[in-house]
């Protein structure tokens, strides 16, 4: 009997179910690509740093450790007299936790809706796509303030809000891709085999619409980091003194001319993470595309 791992193997075109001689494994191929592996290693490092941030940070991110806006400590002191490096580490952790989970929520729901709408068609797609329009046409602030009011300011709720707000990004793009792919003969071939619609969506169609999704995923993380900052200003999300990269950038803006590093450090960190995500995403896309295998 076919078991779960098989279906999984099928879903991931890189891992052949039927293995012949001389084919490198997915992981091996990933490592072989220098840029992808550097980006991957960097992301891994970031993840580890984020996870152990409180242990790595030289100071408590809440403590006053020096005169405000001076250059004490490894990366300087912020306007509240706190150690910038420690705050960067904790901020990284907060931002990643929020942004990654929000994007995951949006990605999973958004892609699923797009697949279903594109494949099933008819009234199902009407309901989904028109609902997505409604969601799109809603100003984020109104939704955000209402959510804090109803659900409270917990960090989980910011994940929820961003997640919901980003669903359309995935749904619309997947939907349009599915429309042009679903009439391909290999999809029909899959149907004829008696594959369940869900399996066709996940195993046959999804890998073939993966490229824009991957791009969208890696971009959305950056936007989610920023949006978290915007929302924490409305009382949703990381509340002071807990830093996030986004709020640090926002706070740094006021001292642009006095101490630009307050803006530069968190911005650079965001840029690096996003860059690594994108490079990694590009690499993944290449790996998933058999035509790029060399």
């Amino acid at each position: 009997m076919a078991t779960a791992p098989e279906s999984l193997a099928q879903a991931l075109p890189g891992t052949p179910l039927v293995k012949g001689a001389g084919r490198k494994s997915f992981l091996k191929r990933m490592v072989a690509n220098r840029r992808t592996s550097i980006a991957g290693a960097f992301l891994l490092l970031v993840a580890i740093v984020a996870m152990f941030a409180p242990l790595i940070a030289p100071y408590d991110y809440r403590d006053i450790v020096g005169r405000p806006l001076t250059s004490g400590g490894p990366l300087g002191i912020d306007d509240f007299g706190r150690d910038v490096l420690s705050r960067l580490l904790i901020g990284l952790r907060t931002s990643l936790a929020v942004a990654l989970s929000a994007v995951a929520v949006a990605g999973v729901i958004g892609v699923a809706l797009g697949l279903v709408a594109g494949y099933v068609g008819r009234w199902v797609s009407t309901i989904i796509m028109r609902g997505i329009d409604v969601l799109l046409s809603f100003p984020p602030i109104v939704l955000a303030i209402a959510v804090v009011a109803i659900l409270g300011p917990a960090l989980v709720n910011v994940v929820l809000v961003i997640g919901v707000l980003y669903i359309p990004r995935f749904t619309r793009i997947v939907y349009s891709q599915v429309l042009s792919i679903r009439s391909m003969e290999y999809v029909e071939a899959s149907e004829i085999m008696g594959t369940k619609p869900a399996d066709i969506l996940v195993k046959t169609i999804l890998p073939n619409v993966a490229a824009p999704i991957i791009v969208q995923l890696s971009l959305s993380v950056s936007f989610a980091i920023q949006m978290e900052a915007g929302l924490s200003f409305l009382g949703l999300g990381a509340q002071p003194p807990l830093p996030s990269l986004g709020t640090m950038v926002g706070a740094g803006r006021d001292f642009l001319e006095v101490q630009p590093t307050l803006l530069i450090y968190p911005s650079v960190l965001i840029i690096l993470v996003v860059l690594a995500l994108n490079v990694f995403g590009d690499g993944m896309r290449d790996l998933l595309d058999p035509r790029h295998r060399t």
Partner: protein, 314 residues
């Protein structure tokens, strides 16, 4: 085609009803009192209560709800609870100003983004591709307010060629208007241009492999034309569907751009209204924005159908 449009317009009306109703309730779910906003900090609770009553906010919810729709259907968007101005008095010009920014930014980012994405895809993994990837990451990673602030700092303070002049309406002073338009449009376009660049690149990398691109080459088409008509055209599908999403992102970003550059647009109107719980204004702005978004999505879908004959047959 006609049937499609009729169907979509009917759906749009349902969508607007939905948006209007949701926003009606959502706005009122937000704690905070428009009467308090109207009276200022020093007002006593008694005064606030009296003003609430004067604003008819004590009346039954459903009554207010139906009143809102009835008035709306009569073309009355209501009157601001705070400023006492009819919403219709401000909304059109605000909407116009925002749309100007947004559409210009969208146009800029589409033109630039697609061009850059195409360059990146055709030179994939070459230096110019790397530069473009890095550049777009820059555009994506920096929040709008930082981009705006930096632009202000550079072009208004350090090299004052584009100082933050007073807002001038295009009718009164077109030259000044264009001048003040530059920075906000650039600020807005930065991120979406980068997004479109990335999407175009990814989509084109797919299509460049297609057999029909090979056929196009075999015909003897100039490589430029092979790329443009064959690889790019099919790659436009995800880009187009992304564009409509990007438009709403742009509309969202105008909140910041409008405050930074003092641009009297719809988003600052909405921000103010939300900050003051000015329900009629919130409702009107959201409905207006929703109308635009829904229309743009409709156009986007039409474009997709025009671009991809396979999409339609389903």
């Amino acid at each position: 085609m006609r049937r499609f449009l009729v169907r979509r317009f009917t759906q749009a009306i349902v969508q607007l009803l939905l948006v209007g109703s949701i926003v009606f309730f959502l706005a009122r779910l937000i704690p905070g009192d428009p009467a308090r906003a109207a009276l200022g900090e020093a007002a006593t609770e008694e005064q606030v209560a009296l003003t609430r009553a004067a604003m008819h906010l004590d009346e039954p919810f459903l009554g207010q709800f139906f009143g809102f729709w009835v008035r709306l259907l009569q073309g009355d968007l209501g009157t601001s609870l705070i400023s006492g101005r009819a919403v219709m008095q401000d909304l059109p010009s605000r909407l116009g100003n925002s749309l100007e920014l947004v559409l210009l930014a969208l146009a800029v980012s589409l033109v630039a983004g697609i061009a850059l994405g195409r360059v990146a895809a055709t030179r994939a993994d070459k230096p110019s591709d790397h530069v473009l990837v890095a550049g777009s990451i820059f555009g994506i990673s920096l929040p709008v307010f930082v981009v705006g602030t930096l632009l202000l700092l550079v072009f208004a303070v350090l090299i004052p060629i584009l100082p933050p002049r007073r807002f001038a309406s295009p009718l009164d002073d077109p030259v000044a208007h264009l001048q003040i338009l530059v920075l906000p449009v650039v600020t807005l376009a930065a991120a979406s241009c980068a997004v479109i660049t990335r999407m175009t690149r990814a989509a084109m990398l797919e299509t460049l492999n297609a057999d029909y691109v090979r056929t196009a080459r075999a015909k003897g088409l100039v490589e430029k034309r092979v790329i443009k008509r064959h690889a790019l055209r099919t790659a436009m599908l995800p880009v187009v569907s992304m564009t409509t999403v990007e438009l709403t992102t742009l509309i969202g970003s105008t909140v910041l751009v409008e405050t930074i550059f003092g641009w009297p647009g719809m988003s600052s109107l909405l921000m103010n209204a939300v900050g003051q719980r000015d329900y009629p204004v919130i409702q009107a702005v959201v409905l207006a924005a929703a109308t635009i978004v829904i229309l743009v999505n409709l156009v986007g879908d039409l474009v997709v159908r025009a671009l991809d004959p396979r999409a339609e047959d389903n």
